[in-house]
């Protein structure tokens, strides 16, 4: 574990988290999740009346996701992000409880320094908790990048994402050890992929326990004060 990354982290060290909840007045639930320089605000409206009645689903609630990047207009890449996040959240929200309604989740990226989809999913989890929407459990997400020298970096920055050979965004639920969402980009050997799964599971567990702590602290009013960064033992 001697090679350190650009910002001094170890291979399997994720950046420190910061979060805020209930920022917006009009939204039913809102939360902001920050990992060093990556920061995403998630706002949840719902369950509400479906705006476009053609899209109304009779047995479930319609999940609509909207992703706005920090700079520029929304492009096809953002549309892809929307789809990934929507698939992830549809699996954990109990949509059958609210048929013929719509749950809108709107993301606004404040700053993007890598792992932005993971950041967004984590922010969405906090926002959904804030809005009181029924879920099966919590969801935690993390990004991994696989480098040319076969090393695996957890929670890459934007620079590391550009230089890596392949990238994987993965989300686990708190209920069971099942993968809720996984998307890989680039070429990857099967060995490396399966080797990285337990690593990512542990990281997602850390995220989920952080989310639990964040919610507990907000309701109970206490603040935690530990001071070093999180390392996952591989």
């Amino acid at each position: 574990m001697t090679n350190t990354r650009n910002d001094g982290r170890l291979n399997n060290q994720i950046r420190a988290f910061e979060s805020e909840q209930s920022l917006l007045n009009k939204a039913d639930g809102s939360a902001r999740f920050t990992q060093n320089k990556s920061s995403v605000l998630a706002a949840v409206y719902g369950p509400i009346e479906v705006k476009n009645s053609r899209k109304q689903k009779i047995l479930k609630s319609l999940i609509e996701v909207s992703f706005t990047p920090s700079v520029g207009n929304t492009t096809y890449l953002d549309k892809e992000k929307e789809l990934l996040i929507k698939n992830a959240l549809e699996s954990i929200i109990l949509t059958t409880l609210h048929p013929r309604t719509q749950i809108s989740i709107i993301f606004q990226v404040f700053s993007d320094d890598g792992s932005i989809i993971s950041c967004a999913i984590n922010a969405a989890c906090l926002a959904l908790l804030d809005a009181g929407i029924e879920m099966q459990g919590l969801i935690g997400s993390v990004t991994l990048c696989y480098n040319h020298d076969k090393s695996i970096y957890l929670d890459p920055t934007a620079q590391e994402e550009k230089e890596c050979k392949s990238l994987s965004v993965i989300a686990y639920g708190s209920q069971s050890s099942q993968i809720i969402m996984n998307k890989t980009e680039g070429t990857l050997s099967m060995d490396l992929y399966f080797k990285s799964l337990p690593l990512s599971k542990e990281a997602c567990d850390k995220v989920i326990s952080y989310i639990k702590l964040a919610v507990k602290n907000r309701i109970m009013g206490t603040i935690s004060t530990n001071t070093t960064s999180t390392t996952i033992e591989s």
Binding site: G46, L94, G132, S209, K212, S224, T228, T230
Partner: protein, 344 residues
């Protein structure tokens, strides 16, 4: 009645530093055992009954599952983040913040969004818009007859888009849609007052939702869905008398309220503004809204010699909120006071 703008004396605004948001920086120590963190949380969960989605409450057969729970893998699991409530064998988890859920008999204030065939669609801050059927309202003149197609064509004379209605939940259909009715003389269209929206979790079920606050001469309607209507008692009484007279005598002609019946004196406006700001203060402090608490804030603001607009100042809001939290809790069995800790 039209005054020219007063010369501007002094703009009294204060620019202050915002309250620091409760930022949570969680960074675990290296090698800290995750199990340790979990058991610590478990204890607190048990003592304060806080549930997180995915957390197991009990084994499947032990309790009946209520709202906010579901069965999975032989266990009863919480699906929302909130307090656990247990009534005999029924376990439910109540979320801190959620959209309004209508029950039969609930008194609500709603806003008409759409006019459809033989019914109006009403927005009540719930998961879906509620329906007000044409057959569920009182026709002008109080006649009891079958609604004809000409009634349907004249629906616009009764309620138009964006009107506020005071109604009661009548029925919840099989597919989840909800019907409301105004079949009572006190229900109907709300006119000449002020509207306010607060989180629906702060409204509690009680015997009366229409409160005539005698000390201030202000009528307040606290809809269970979080929509609140504030109006001047005197003016509403005059208005109501006029409308009833109109219904008795010439209901087939359109109702036009004369100007003097719409007048509200400046003093009443000040009182209405004060009540409005008091309710906003309670909503911001996440405290239950009912006539007693509103009057407490009202009286306190008069004691502190504040004008109505001073209740918008964050310093005074803080002072009054602290004062309220020192008062003893109500013992009224109808009012279940859940005082949640202040956010931020």
């Amino acid at each position: 009645m039209n005054e020219t703008n007063n010369p501007i004396s002094e703009i009294n605004i204060e620019i202050f530093s915002p309250q620091k948001r409760l930022k949570l920086r969680h960074i675990e120590k290296k090698n800290e055992n995750e199990m340790e963190v979990d058991t610590d949380q478990d204890e607190i969960y048990k003592s304060r009954r806080l549930m997180i989605p995915g957390q197991s409450i009990a084994k499947e057969g032990e309790y009946l599952k209520g709202h906010g729970t579901f069965h999975f893998d032989g266990n009863l699991i919480a699906s929302v983040c909130g307090n656990i409530e247990r009534v005999n064998k029924l376990v439910s988890v109540r979320a801190f913040k959620s959209r309004y859920n209508g029950e039969i008999g609930d008194i609500i204030v709603g806003r008409i969004t759409e006019i459809q065939g033989k019914r109006w669609k009403v927005d009540v801050n719930a998961r879906q818009d509620y329906f007000l059927m044409l057959s569920a309202i009182n026709l002008p003149g109080g006649i009891q007859r079958r609604r004809t197609s000409s009634d349907e064509l004249q629906m616009r004379n009764l309620f138009v888009e964006n009107d506020l209605v005071y109604a009661e939940v009548q029925q919840i259909m099989g597919d989840g849609s909800v019907a409301i009715h105004t079949r009572n003389l006190k229900y109907g269209k709300l006119q000449n007052g002020c509207f306010l929206k607060v989180p629906s979790n702060l409204m509690k079920r009680s015997k009366m939702h229409f409160h005539s606050l005698d000390e201030c001469g202000v009528d307040v309607i606290l809809g269970l869905n979080g929509y609140i209507w504030i109006a001047d008692t005197e003016q509403q009484r005059k208005q109501q008398a006029f409308i009833q007279k109109h219904e008795r005598e010439n209901f087939d002609q359109p109702l036009v309220l004369p100007e003097d019946h719409k007048e509200i004196t400046k003093e009443s406006r000040e009182r209405i503004a004060r009540i409005k700001n008091s309710i906003s203060l309670l909503a911001e402090g996440f405290m239950v809204i009912h006539p007693k608490s509103i009057m407490q804030v009202y009286k306190q603001s008069i004691k502190m010699a504040l004008s109505a607009k001073d209740l918008l100042h964050p310093e005074y809001i803080r002072q009054i909120t602290t004062y309220l939290s020192t008062l003893p809790l109500e013992n009224d069995s109808n009012l279940d006071m859940h005082e949640y800790p202040e956010e931020q």
